[in-house]
């Protein structure tokens, strides 16, 4: 059986609807692309200046001038376009991005996102994160449910500096699919082998549970 993390990524891939323009953040989100069916109609955007991202290439086949925002050597597809950084974020801020998938340090029950700074420990700068989080039409998070120490990443409020307010719509973790609702976190699906009690215990804020047993992934 595949790992819960792999199944989380495969499940997140089903979030992408035909015709969408999508930006996949550095880290786990970029792996989502491997789970899209061949020929699926979608446009992948990377903020350093490419729409129509093709497969990642090994160094010996890479083009030195063709990377994604995470520095991976990528390729083009028929219909790809190159552009500058102002044009790239014009797309983002003007609402042409249907979906972005981001990583997270913390997500609050109201949809606040913190994913760029841990004061005193990690402050490399926000890059394009604020604009993606604030302006993509739909923002979903891909993340382990807890940090390495086992502390919840889903919290009543974010303690870390925010990336953007009330931006997250849905969270895919290795334990569950959880929506941000006006009432707070609401469990929609659960990972195979997990119990509702386990997920609620690992969540740092009240978790609304479904009446019927939820679908698994």
């Amino acid at each position: 059986m595949s790992s819960a993390k792999d199944r989380m990524i495969a499940r997140a891939a089903r979030e992408i609807a035909p015709g969408m323009v999508v930006n996949l953040g550095i880290g786990l989100p970029t792996k989502v692309v491997d789970h899209l069916p061949a020929g699926f109609p979608v446009c992948l955007h990377t903020e350093n200046g490419l729409t129509g991202i093709g497969p990642t290439l090994p160094p010996e086949r890479a083009d030195r001038n063709l990377i994604d925002a995470g520095g991976a050597y990528v390729s083009t597809v028929p219909g790809s376009a190159f552009f500058d950084s102002a044009t790239s974020f014009a797309m983002v801020r003007s609402g042409r991005l249907d979906l972005t998938m981001l990583g997270a340090f913390e997500v609050a029950a109201n949809g606040d996102l913190a994913n760029w700074k841990i004061p005193g420990k990690f402050s490399p700068g926000v890059g394009g994160g604020i604009e993606l989080a604030q302006k993509a039409r739909r923002v979903v998070v891909l993340s382990t449910h807890t940090d390495r120490a086992g502390n919840p990443k889903l919290k009543a409020e974010c303690a870390l500096p925010l990336t953007a307010h009330r931006c997250v719509a849905r969270i895919f973790t290795d334990m569950a699919v959880i929506d941000i609702t006006p009432q707070g976190f609401a469990l929609r699906e659960i990972a195979q082998g997990r119990t509702l009690h386990e997920v609620a215990q690992a969540t740092g804020a009240p978790l609304i549970l479904p009446d019927a047993p939820p679908p698994t992934f």
Partner: protein, 230 residues
Amino acid sequence: MKLPDKTTTIEAAIARIKDGDSVMVGGFGVPGTPMTLIRALVDHGARDLTLIKNDANEPDMGIDHLLQSGQVTRLITTHLGLNAHAIALMNAGKLDVEFNAQGILAERIRAGGAGLGAVLSDIGIGTELAQGKQVVDLAGKPHLVETALRADVALIHAERADTFGNLAYTGTAQNFNPLMAMAADCVIAEVETLLPLGALTAGEVQTVGVFVDHVAELETLSEEYAVVQR
């Protein structure tokens, strides 16, 4: 993965326009003016339109057809000098005209397309064009708030396109087209040549297909596109 197909017909695209819509129209003189989309909008008949266009073309050309048919209530523009008919409508109080400095109109449209609220500029300070505009001090110097412009629809003319809506222009036919193609909720491009995906290289693209909603290939180029005999 495959980039989505956005091809349609001129008529199907124009059918989306409603009474009261704001409509950006590319072009500076003849080059880049989407003559066929404009004619289709006349046939379509939507009324009470706000047009945003650099100029009013010349009599019996381009957007003058929409002015003559009475479909336009308001025109946001920079210069009407070649269209005496437009000036007469304005002077008769039948057309509400807002004049902008040309580069400021370009920046206001681009700001709309870039998801900005406004740009601050010192252009026109102390002239009629500054009247009624909010002023912000930057390092002690007054600047005008030039608010972002967006429209319900943009009508674009491009020389070449692919089926995803990537566009390429030629000559001085760019003008306002690449800017307006960023700044409307529904961007419709008429194109002289529609190419399969990949025929327009990634480096040739001047308007990225992400901004474009509908692409329609022109069957013929009417006489309105030709060199004007003066």
